[in-house]
C-alpha cells in the first residue's frame, strides 16, 4: 500500500507548527505518532498535501504536576504514559487503559494526544478522558484555548479542533487514591474494543463517594454513564450490580456488553 505524494514539514516550535498549518491550508495534516494517520494514508482514505510532523516539539512530551491536576503533553507516547509515576499515582485509570492499547511497537510510537485528536469511537483513551473530566489545551493562530472533553469529542473522527489548531496539552484532575479499572472486550489481542468500560471509584469505609464511568465504542464518540455514576454516590459497594444495569437500556449485544462490562469494571475498580 502506497500513499499519495505529500510534502513533509518539520517545525521546531508550536508557533511554527501553527503557522505552517495556516500557511498550508485545509489539506495539511499534523502527524504525531502516525499510528492512525499512516494506515489512513496508505489506504488512500485521505491524501493530505502536506504532513506537519510535530515529533520534534519536545515541549509537547512528558507529564507535569500542576497542583490539583496533571498536564499531559500531547506527544507523550502510550509507552511513556504506561510508565509515568504521576499518572500512576493520580490518574491510574489512564495507565490501565493504555496498557490495553495495541502492542508494544504501536505503544512506542502512538501518542496520547494523537489518540484523542483521531477521535475514533473505538479508540480506548476517549472514554477515560471524558470520564475523568480532562480538558484539552489547544494552540491556534489566535492563541490558546481550553476545551473540556465533553465538548471536544463531536462525532466519529471529529473533534472541536479547527483545521489550523494543535492539541498541545491535556489537563487531567488528580484522582489520587481512586480505584480504577478498564474492562475491554475485543476478539484478538491486536483488535479494537467491541465495547469497553473505563471506571474510577472513590470508596471510603465501604461507601462509594464518587464514581466515573466512560464507555468505549457504543456511539459516535465516548459515552459517559452518568446514570450509573449518580446511582452509586453514597451507596455501598453492593449497589454496583444494580447500578450497572443503567449503563444501557437496549437489548442488543452491545447493550448487554455495556451493562455486563460496567458491572465488572466497577467491581474490579473497587477491589483495587
Amino acid at each position: 500500500m502506497i500513499p499519495a505524494e505529500f510534502r513533509y514539514l518539520f517545525p521546531s516550535t508550536v508557533d511554527e507548527a501553527v503557522r505552517m498549518l495556516a500557511d498550508e491550508g485545509e489539506d495539511a495534516k499534523i502527524i504525531a505518532g502516525g499510528q492512525s494517520l499512516v494506515p489512513v494514508l496508505r489506504m488512500r482514505l485521505a491524501a493530505p498535501t502536506a504532513l506537519i510532523d510535530i515529533g520534534g516539539l519536545t515541549e509537547l512530551t512528558g507529564v507535569r504536576d500542576d497542583g490539583d491536576s496533571l498536564l499531559i503533553g500531547a506527544m507523550t507516547t502510550h509507552y511513556e504514559v504506561q510508565r509515568d509515576h504521576l499518572i500512576h499515582d493520580h490518574a491510574l485509570l489512564l495507565k490501565l487503559v493504555t496498557d490495553t492499547v495495541a502492542d508494544p511497537q504501536v505503544r512506542h510510537r502512538g501518542t496520547f494526544g494523537g489518540s484523542l485528536c483521531h477521535a475514533d469511537p473505538a479508540g480506548d483513551l476517549l472514554a477515560p478522558a471524558l470520564a475523568l473530566d480532562a480538558v484539552m489545551i489547544i494552540a491556534g493562530p489566535g492563541g490558546r484555548r481550553e476545551v473540556p472533553a465533553a465538548e471536544f469529542f463531536v462525532d466519529y473522527f471529529t473533534t472541536a479542533l479547527a483545521p489550523d489548531e494543535i492539541l498541545i496539552d491535556v489537563r487531567v484532575p488528580k484522582y489520587t487514591g481512586w480505584g480504577a479499572h478498564y474492562e475491554k472486550l475485543n476478539r484478538v489481542a491486536q483488535a479494537w474494543s467491541i465495547v469497553a468500560v473505563a471506571a474510577a471509584v472513590q470508596v471510603r469505609g465501604g461507601t462509594i463517594e464518587a464514581a466515573r464511568v466512560g464507555l468505549t465504542n457504543v456511539g459516535s464518540g465516548p459515552v459517559r454513564a452518568v446514570d450509573v455514576e449518580s446511582a452509586l454516590v453514597g451507596q455501598p459497594v453492593s449497589a454496583i450490580a444494580e447500578a450497572a444495569l443503567r449503563a444501557s437500556s437496549g437489548d442488543g449485544y452491545k447493550d448487554n456488553l455495556a451493562r455486563v462490562l460496567t458491572g465488572r469494571a466497577l467491581t474490579a475498580a473497587v477491589a483495587g
Binding site: M1, I2, A4, E5, S36, P39, V40, R42, M43, R44, L45, H118, D120, P121, A122, G123, Y156, F157, L185, N186, R187, V188, A189, Q190, A191, W192, S193, I194, N217, G252, Y253, K254, N256, L257, V260, L261
Partner: protein, 808 residues
C-alpha cells in the same frame, strides 16, 4: 571427515535457515533490484459482476514515470486462460480465466488494468487516473441461490453448476448401500454445517520479478510451486519451457495460498516480454486478500445412521462447494480431497459422497492448509458428538466403539483407501492422561450445577488425514493433471562436502535442516557439511514442489534412495580401492572397512577417488553423484487425539481456551522441534477457523474483511500453551516411516474447539453455532436467537475506519 556417532534423525536441531531469515540476511523476491526494472501496479475491479463498457487510460498514461498502461484488450490475443489442472469430471464446466479481464469482471478484486512505471509509487499514483465504465450485472453470492440459476456468473455456461462428483461405496464395492442403511436405521442424525471462507495469511505477500534478458525469461516468484509454475507458464504462453527459469528464493509462508499460477505471474511475464525490460510486482496485504485465492467455503449436509447401541451404520455427505468466479490451479479438486476422509477412523459399512461445485461472484477458492480434509474432519467429528448427545453416551466412548482397532491394520476403508498403520487407542490414552479428562468432567458438572456464569466444555477430535501426496496412479484416476512423485539428487563434491538438490520447494518449513539430518545419518557426514538447494528450476531440474504434507514422506524418501545409490557405488569403489570383495565391505559412521581387518577408507576418500577417476573399476563412471525419484504406492495417514477445554462466558459470549492437548502420530519424527512447530502453527490456524477468521462479503459482493484489522488472525497472545505429545506407528509406505505433519494440527483442531464450546453450552439449549464462534454469535445463541436476527457488530476493525475501497 568426522563421523557422526549420535543419530541425526530424531534430534531437535535448531533450523539452519533461521539465522538468515530472522536477521534479514536473505533476499526475498521484493528485494530483487534489476537494472532498468519497471514496476507493475494492478487496477482491480471494485464491483463483483459487471461488463466493462470502456476503459480510459489517457490520463494515467500521461502521468509522470508511466511507461504504459495496459488493459485486457491489449493481451486478449496472447494471455490465454489461467490453467486448471484438475478437471474432476469429464463434463466439468470450466470458463475461460483471463489473467486480465477483457470485457467482463466476475469478482471484486479481479485485475482490469495494469500500470507499468519506473517506480512502484508512480505506478500506484497512476492507478487512480484510470477510468473504467462498468455496466453492473446481478451478483451471485449464495451457493443455494446460485444453483437456481436465476442469475448466472458466466452466462455462456448456461448454469452456475460447475460439476458434480460422486463416490458411492455400493458402486465402488467398498461397502454397502447407504440409503438402505439409513432407511433401516435405529437412529438417523442429519446436520448442516457451514465451512466459512478463509484467507490464507502467509507472512510474505506475493511478489514476482521477471527478467527477459539474455534470451531467457528468469522469473523470481514467492511461490510454493516453481516447477509447476514453469510448466504451466510455458503451456499458457507458448514460451518454450527451456527458455523459462523459475526461482522461488526464500519464501515467507504459503499454507496453500502460493500453490497457484497467479494472474500476476503471467501478466509480469507478458509485460516483460512486451517491454523487453525486467518487471516487478509486489502486492499489498489488501490486494492479497482481494485477489489471492481463498480457502474452504462449503455447505455440508451430513446424514449419519447408527444403532441405538452407538454403532455407526452409514454416512451420507452432500456438499456444496464454492469455486468462486474461476477455476484456478486445483480449485475443483479441493473438496474431492476430502471425499476420502469423512469416514475418518470409523468403520462405516456404507458411505456416499456427493459434491456439487458452484460458481459465484467471489474470489476463486483453492488450496488452504488441509485442503478438503479439515472440512471432512470437522463434519465427522461434529457428527460423532451429535450422535453421543442423541444417545446420551460419552463422546469418547462412542468414538472408541467405532474406530479401527490397532490390530486391524492395514485396513481397507469404505472410501476405498488402505490405512497402513495407526494406533488410535494409544494416542487417545496418552491424550486423556495429559488432559485430565475425568477431573475436567467433574468440574464441568460442578459449574453446571452452580449455574456459574462461566461454563466449561470439553471437545474431542480423534482425527486422521491422508497426506504424502501422492501415488501418481491415484492422481491419474482422479483426473489430476500431474504426478505425485518426488525427486532428489546428491552431488558429492571432491572435498567430501555434499550438495542435496530437492524437487520439493520449502517456504518456511525447514527442509534444509531436515534434509541435512537425513543425509548426515545416511552417509555418515556431519550435518554442517550438507547444503540443500531448492526452488530453482535451473539447479533443481524437476520436482512436484511442496503442498499436501508431501515433502518428507515423498521427497525425503527420494533423498534416502539417492543416498543409498551413492553408498552402493561408493561401496563398489571402496572394495576396488581396498582390493577386497565387495561383500566384505562394511560401512559405518562415514567409513568403509574390510570386515575383520583395520583396512578402511572414509567416504570422503572414496568420493575423491571417484572424482579424479585415476583408478576406477572397469566400466564405472567418474563421480559419485546420484539421482532418485520416488513415486509412493500409498498415501500416509497421520492421526491423533486432540482434546480442548474451553471456558465460555455466558454473559459476554467470550470463549477462552483453557487447555489444549494434541497427541499426534505422524510416524517417524526426523526433527521434533520442527514437528512441534508445525503442530503449533497448525493448531493456531485450525483454532482461528473455529473462533476468529472469516472472509465476509456484503450483498454487493465486496469483501468487507480486506485488512488484518478486520480479518482476525490470532497471535500468540490469543492462544493457550499447547500441550503436545506423540505416539508413533511408522508409515509402511516409505522407508523413513514418516507420515507428514504440515496440516495435521489444522485438520484436527477446528472440531475440537467447536465441540468443546457446544459441550459447554448445550445444557443451556444451544445445539449449534456457526463458525467462527465470535462472542456475539455465542451470546446470541445463548439468547435463543439466530445470529442473523441480531445483526453482527464489527469485529473491531481498524478502529471504526471503513477500510473498504482502499486497495493498493
Amino acid at each position: 571427515m568426522t563421523a557422526t556417532a549420535e543419530p541425526e534423525v530424531g534430534k531437535a536441531r535448531l533450523r539452519k535457515e533461521d539465522a538468515r531469515l530472522i536477521t534479514g540476511q536473505t533476499r526475498w523476491t521484493d528485494n530483487i533490484q534489476l537494472t532498468g526494472m519497471l514496476h507493475m501496479a494492478v487496477l482491480r475491479s471494485p464491483v463483483a459482476h459487471a461488463r466493462i463498457r470502456n476503459i480510459d487510460c489517457s490520463r494515467a498514461t500521461a502521468m509522470p514515470g508511466v511507461a504504459v498502461v495496459l488493459t485486457g484488450e491489449d493481451f486478449a490475443a496472447e494471455q490465454g486462460s489461467l490453467p486448471c489442472a484438475w478437471p474432476i469430471t469429464e463434463d466439468m464446466k470450466s470458463p475461460p480465466a483471463p489473467a486480465l479481464a477483457v470485457d467482463q469482471v466476475n469478482f471484486a478484486g479481479e485485475a482490469v488494468a495494469l500500470v507499468i512505471a519506473d517506480s512502484p509509487y508512480r505506478a500506484a499514483d497512476a492507478l487512480a487516473e484510470i477510468d473504467v465504465d462498468y455496466d453492473e450485472l446481478p451478483v451471485v453470492l449464495d451457493l443455494e441461490e446460485a444453483l437456481r440459476d436465476t442469475d448466472l456468473v458466466h452466462p455462456d455456461l448456461g448454469t452456475n453448476k460447475c460439476a458434480t462428483w460422486v463416490f458411492d461405496s455400493a458402486e465402488a464395492g467398498s461397502g454397502t448401500n447407504v440409503e438402505d442403511e439409513i432407511s433401516s436405521a435405529e437412529v438417523v442424525i442429519e446436520r448442516t454445517f457451514r465451512q466459512q471462507r478463509l484467507i490464507p495469511s502467509f507472512m510474505e505477500p506475493r511478489s514476482v520479478v521477471v527478467d527477459p534478458s539474455a534470451g531467457m525469461f528468469t522469473i523470481w516468484s514467492a511461490t510454493q510451486i516453481p516447477h509447476i509454475l514453469r510448466w504451466m507458464l510455458s503451456a499458457v504462453t507458448g514460451i518454450a519451457e527451456h527458455k523459462i527459469r523459475v526461482i522461488a528464493p526464500d519464501v515467507g509462508g504459503g499454507f496453500g495460498g502460493k500453490l497457484q499460477v497467479t494472474p500476476e505471474e503471467l501478466l509480469c511475464l507478458l509485460v516483460a516480454r512486451r517491454m523487453g525490460r525486467p518487471v516487478k510486482w509486489t502486492e499489498s496485504r489488501t490486494e492479497s486478500m482481494l485477489s489471492g485465492h481463498h480457502g474452504r467455503d462449503q455447505i455440508q449436509k451430513i446424514t449419519l445412521s447408527a444403532r441405538r447401541d452407538g454403532t455407526v451404520t452409514g454416512l451420507k455427505v452432500e456438499l456444496l462447494a464454492d469455486m468462486g468466479a474461476y477455476l484456478r490451479l486445483v480449485t475443483p479438486g479441493i473438496p474431492i480431497l476430502g471425499a476420502f476422509m469423512f469416514n475418518a477412523i470409523y468403520k462405516f459399512p456404507a458411505y456416499r459422497f456427493v459434491c456439487t461445485n458452484v460458481f459465484t461472484n467471489k474470489v476463486p477458492t483453492d488450496a488452504y492448509r488441509g485442503a478438503g480434509r479439515p472440512e471432512a474432519t470437522f463434519a465427522i467429528e461434529r457428527m460423532m458428538d451429535e450422535l453421543a448427545v442423541e444417545l446420551g453416551m460419552d463422546p469418547m466412548k462412542i468414538r472408541e466403539m467405532n474406530w479401527i482397532k490397532h490390530e486391524e491394520f492395514p485396513f481397507n476403508t469404505v472410501a476405498g483407501l488402505t490405512y497402513d498403520s495407526g494406533n488410535y487407542e494409544a494416542a487417545t490414552a496418552r491424550a486423556m492422561e495429559l488432559f485430565g479428562y475425568d477431573d475436567l468432567r467433574e468440574e464441568q458438572a460442578r459449574r453446571r450445577a452452580d449455574g456459574s456464569a462461566v461454563q466449561l466444555g470439553i471437545g474431542i477430535s480423534t482425527y486422521t488425514e491422508m497426506c504424502g501426496l501422492a501415488p501418481s496412479r491415484v492422481l491419474g484416476a482422479l483426473r489430476y493433471g500431474a504426478g505425485g512423485w518426488e525427486t532428489a539428487s546428491i552431488r558429492m563434491l571432491p572435498t567430501g562436502k555434499v550438495e542435496v538438490i530437492t524437487g520439493t520447494s520449502p517456504h518456511g518449513q525447514g527442509h534444509e535442516t531436515v534434509w541435512s539430518q537425513i543425509v548426515a545419518d545416511r552417509l555418515g557426514v556431519p550435518f554442517e557439511d550438507v547444503e540443500v538447494l531448492h526452488g530453482d528450476t535451473a539447479s533443481s531440474h524437476k520436482g512436484m514442489d511442496s503442498y499436501g504434507s508431501r515433502s518428507l514422506a515423498v521427497g525425503g524418501t527420494a533423498l534416502v534412495h539417492a543416498a543409498d545409490k551413492v553408498l552402493a557405488k561408493a561401496r563398489t569403489l571402496a572394495a576396488h580401492m581396498m582390493e577386497c570383495d565387495e561383500a566384505d565391505v562394511e560401512f559405518a559412521s562415514g567409513s568403509f572397512s574390510v570386515r575383520g581387518t583395520s583396512t578402511a577408507r572414509t567416504l570422503s576418500d572414496v568420493v575423491l577417488a571417484a572424482h579424479v577417476a585415476h583408478d576406477l573399476p572397469e566400466g564405472m563412471e567418474p563421480g559419485m553423484d546420484a539421482d532418485a525419484t520416488f513415486d509412493p504406492d500409498n498415501f500416509s495417514f497421520p492421526h491423533g487425539t486432540h482434546l480442548c477445554a474451553t471456558e465460555v462466558d455466558t454473559e459476554t459470549g467470550v470463549v477462552k481456551i483453557r487447555s489444549y492437548v494434541a497427541v499426534d502420530d505422524v510416524g517417524t519424527v526426523v526433527n521434533p522441534l520442527i514437528v512441534d512447530g508445525q503442530v503449533h502453527g497448525g493448531l493456531a490456524q485450525g483454532i482461528a477457523q473455529a473462533l476468529y477468521e472469516e472472509a465476509v462479503h456484503d450483498e454487493m459482493g465486496t469483501l468487507t474483511t480486506a485488512t488484518f484489522a478486520d480479518y482476525l488472525v490470532p497471535s500468540a497472545a490469543d492462544l493457550p500453551a499447547f500441550l503436545t505429545a506423540r505416539t508413533s506407528t511408522p508409515a509402511t509406505s516409505n522407508p523413513l516411516g514418516a507420515k507428514g505433519v504440515g496440516e495435521a494440527g489444522t485438520i484436527a483442531s477446528t472440531p475440537a474447539v467447536v465441540n468443546s464450546v457446544l459441550d459447554a453450552v448445550r445444557h443451556l439449549g444451544v445445539r449449534d453455532i456457526e463458525m467462527p464462534l465470535s462472542p456475539e454469535r455465542v451470546w446470541t445463541a445463548l439468547q435463543g436467537r439466530k445470529a442473523d436476527d441480531a445483526g453482527e457488530v464489527a469485529a473491531g476493525g481498524l478502529g471504526s475506519i471503513d477500510a473498504q475501497g482502499g486497495q493498493s
